[in-house]
Amino acid sequence: MTLAEKILAAHASRDRVSPGELVNVKVDLVLANDITAPIAIREFERIGVDRVFDPRKVVMVPDHFVPNKDIPSAEQAKMMREFALAQGVVYYEVGQAGIEHVLLPEQGLVVPGDVVIGADSHTCTYGALGAFATGMGSTDIASAMACGEIWMKVPPTIRFVYHGRLPRWIGGKDLILYTISRIGVDGALYAAMEFTGEAIADLSMDGRFTMANMAIEAGAKAGIFRVDDKTLDYVRARASRAYHVYEPDDDAECNTTVEYDVSRLEPQVAFPHLPSNARPISQVGTINIDQVVIGSCTNGRLEDLQVAAQIIRGRKIHPKVRCIIIPGTQQVYLDALRRGLVEEFVSAGAVVSTPTCGPCLGGYMGILAAGERCVSTTNRNFVGRMGSRDSEVYLAGPAVAAASAILGRIAGPEEVTN
């Protein structure tokens, strides 16, 4: 069995499962946010049980429209808060929280071998920890909150092997944008993407979270990494719960294996309006920009801010660019503050915001007007994603985003640092 199959079999109390089978799996963690929890709570109340199956295994995080941007979003956050407190589930208030998919791993709430479901499509982020994590809708979450299990179809596994050493400035975002550009936005539809190879062994945990995060952008049910020493160091420093390391069988059958040599990979930029429209930076041409966003559940971790700081440090943001930097959690914010990054960003002329999803989904804190262009380290560049339907979002990693903020056009990091 593959890694994904092993985890699902264990949670379905089965010796074996194979792709296509429908199984009932026990869940270790159930997640919802300020947008999806209100519907989940209403559906939960229709089921007719009084309590969630286990309050330690239900997490609610306000992050999309908080600190509340308007009255309706305040009502939604309030509904979630009241339910969370009444049920005693794990809840993080504004000021102790951040973007759910940065927060949960950081707080040690997800460990290797878990099955996690969340009412948010980027729940797949936790696959970086060797967990099986997938996004679902609010009604699925309501049902799982009541009974602690959920039906799933066992996905086929597609294995991606990345050979070679990563060149300077190349990170998880470049690897995943490149991959999606090769296979398309439905290239892994319903499948589990397993990421492996020397380049992955070299990649930091932050880089792995970025890759797993965007598995959904290829249509996948999950993105998953094998557990290694980096994973264990990360988990032991944070989690108190027991974990289980599953290893794929040597003869595990994958649906497909795809291999890439990434030793000469260039920074990638995904053009509007699909994450699969990626090009290497050398083929971007001259594209002037109005805004840069560095943050989100994709690239809002400390390493992302450190990469950006290496480029922004001692320079000035281009006078025609609004550069908005959003640490993913309060902890990332504090770490950035202590290391002096926040001061460097502010001195350079960037905005540093409290943690929020904000502009990533066109919520607030940096909405685009018609005709405006933004380079963003987020994960989606659909029509209207960050504002006007006539605006454009270019997806990239923090190095390209920071370099573009300095030069006022889409640029690679070497154009600034050389």
Binding site: G137, A146, V185, V383
Partner: protein
Amino acid sequence: MKLTGRAHRYGANVDTDAIIPARYLNTSDPAELAQHCMEDIDSEFLNRVRPGDIIVADTNFGCGSSREHAPAAIKAAGISCVIAKSFARIFFRNSINTGLPILESEEAVDETDPGDILEVELATGEIVNVTKNKSFRAKPYPDFMLELIGAGGLIEHTRRKLGQGGDTQ
């Protein structure tokens, strides 16, 4: 149950931000959501749509976010059914769970033009293009899914499970 309506035709990868832009997710009221359904990719949709109409699209319909606001907005806009070559998986689950009928058929999609009148028989998966006088059969649902639909959606199914089985832990 037989559904009849005019086809609204879309291409591949219609995403959840196109179905209902995230800027409107500060509410979950279907009627409010419906007022913005499809507005970023088809500003005429709301003027054109009539109760019972059918959305017909190419591959990967509903890709992107897990928001259940997407099938809710489509339903509340009056759409009776979505036919596509394939669906994104979270959208598929959400539609089954919340009772928006969805059908997969490559042929029916290829042979449908905007405005064609379609008839759909959900129980059998038969799709008739009345305008072109052609009929097609959608991919059947797995048995478990039929059970879910038969129970009236996931919440009903869960109620029964918890009611009958008591403590499932």
